[in-house]
Amino acid sequence: MFKLFQPNKIFQITSKAPKYILFLFVIVLSIGLTEALVLSPEDYKQSDAVRIMYVHVPAAWISLGIFSTITFLSISGFIFKNKNFFLIAKSLAPSGFLFNIIALVTGSIWGKPTWGTWWAWDARITSMLILALFYAMYLISWRIYDSEEKVFKISAIITILGIINVPIIKYSVDWWNTLHQPASINILSKSSIHSSMLFPLLIMTAAFALFSLLIFLMKYNTELIKIKNKGLDRL
C-alpha cells in the first residue's frame, strides 16, 4: 500500500495538479467572497461585523485540522518507517501556520467592534496563540537541524506536545468562562447557525482548504526537487 506514497509515483500527480487547483480555488473563492460580503445577511446583534466570521472561523478550523494531520503523519512516519510521511507533514506546515496567524489577526480585528478590545487573555485566544508557537517551533526545527534522524524526532515531539493543546482549544469555551460564544456548528447535533450564514461559511472553508492544498502541493514538489538536487550531487 505504501508504494502509493513513493515520491516517484506521487510527483507525476503533484507536478500537474497545482494549476487545476489554483483555477478551482479562484472560482470557489470568488463565489465565497460574493456570498460573504454581499449576499449573506447581517447579524441582528453584531450587524455587518459578523462578516469577519467568514474568514476567521474557516482559518481557525483549517489550522487545527492541519496541525492534527501533521501529528498523525509524524507518528505514522515512525510506526511505518516511511520518510515520505515526514515530508508531507513538513509541506503542510506553512499553510497551517498562516491560517493560525489569520485566525488570530482577524479575531483581533473582530474583537474591537464586538468586545471593545483588540486582545484579551481569554482561554480560546491564548490557546490559539500557543498553537501558533508550536507551529513556529515545528517550522524552525526543520531549519536548524541538518540530520534527518534528529529533525524527524524533534519535529514529532513538538507535534505530540502541541496536539495536547488542540482539545483545549476546542473545549476552552465549555470548560472556562470566555469571551467566545460556545460552538454554533455541530456535526452530530443540530447547528444553531442559520443556513443563510452557514452556506457562505462552508464555501469559504472549501476555498481555504483548496488554498492549503495548493500550497501543500507546491511545497511538496519543491521538497522532492531539493532531494533530487542532492541526488545529482552524489552522482
Binding site: S15, L37, R51, I52, T106, I109, N221, I225
Partner: protein, 75 residues
C-alpha cells in the same frame, strides 16, 4: 450601493481590513512558495546540464528526473 457595501453600517473598516489581511497573506505565501519552487527547479536544470553524458544518462533512468525536466521546460 457601493457606499453601502463599503460602509457596512460603520463596520466596513473592520470587515474589509480582515478580508484584505487574509487575501494579502494568501498572495504572499503563494508568491514565496512559487519563488522557492522555481529556484529549486532552476538549480536542478543547471546541475543536470553540467553532468557528463554517462551521468546524465543514468540520471535520466529515474522517471522523476525526467518529469522535473519536462515541467521546467513547460513552465
Amino acid at each position: 450601493m457601493i457606499n453601502e457595501l463599503l460602509f457596512m453600517n460603520g463596520y466596513g473598516v473592520y470587515v474589509l481590513s480582515a478580508f484584505s489581511f487574509t487575501l494579502l497573506s494568501f498572495s504572499a505565501l503563494y508568491l514565496i512558495t512559487k519563488v522557492q519552487f522555481i529556484k529549486e527547479q532552476s538549480k536542478f536544470v543547471a546541475k543536470f546540464g553540467s553532468l557528463n553524458t554517462d551521468k546524465a544518462k543514468s540520471a535520466k533512468l529515474q522517471r522523476i528526473n525526467k518529469e522535473i525536466l519536462a515541467n521546467a521546460t513547460n513552465n
